[in-house]
Subunit: 141 residues, 2 copies
């Protein structure tokens, strides 16, 4: 994840948001997860550490983290269930069309630009590339 647990805690305190045991666990799990999990996957992982947690709390905390810019929702997949991106740096994606694994591609692509005629008057903000493929595991089976 972009930020360590300590930094997230400091940020929450700074914004007058409270640090609860539930939030601490969620922060810890996110810090070591780069698999772009769904809210429910995160909930399941929290459950295995803290069995009394509520789904609502997980959703609330994820929403809070997105609002603070510490987490982003993955935009380039059409899956059921939003996946969260813990990588705060600008990057692209490589997606397995079989098992839905998703990994980051952290570099720029030259030439991905529109000429003035192509923009149709749009003021371009950013661009994003998604590669679709079949991961090594899925090629075997």
């Amino acid at each position: 994840m972009r930020q360590s647990v300590d930094v997230l805690i400091k940020l929450f305190r700074q914004k007058d948001l409270k640090i609860t045991p539930q939030r601490r666990v969620i922060f810890e799990l996110l810090a070591e997860d780069d698999s772009h999990p769904t809210a429910d996957k995160i909930y399941q992982r929290v459950l295995s550490v803290m069995p009394e947690v509520s789904r609502t709390t997980v959703y609330n905390t994820l929403r809070e983290l997105v609002a603070l810019g510490e987490l982003t929702t993955v935009e380039d997949l059409n899956e059921s269930g939003t996946r969260y991106d813990t990588n705060g740096n600008y990057h692209h994606h490589l997606f397995c069309i079989r098992c839905h694994a998703l990994i980051d591609i952290s570099r720029d692509f030259a030439g991905v630009e529109l000429s003035p005629e192509e923009t149709a008057g749009y003021q371009i903000v950013k661009s994003h590339v998604t590669f679709y493929g079949i991961c090594p595991d899925c090629q075997d089976s």
Copy 2:
């Protein structure tokens, strides 16, 4: 849309799928719509022509068209409500982050390729570029 109404009707007949008045209306609306509408938008448009139609029928027909490859679901947006793409040719997208207008970019981008080291063993199938921007209308307001 990729196919004219006549071609879709012929295709449905060929697959032993029946041509009903409802389906005919849906075909006609799609043939002249390149706005990447949602199922509900299409339903509303069908309603204005044929007020007794059911939402289910619209969903069923759209699903059928996707199965036949005559329609694709837009994959690079994270919106509530799947949007449908009537453009059958390979293309990219330019999306207005304010009003969610979506237009097609029908050309290739050189250099959008991964080196063997970057693919992590994935067998690449295709790639898509999405541009995010602000459309002329939204720049004014």
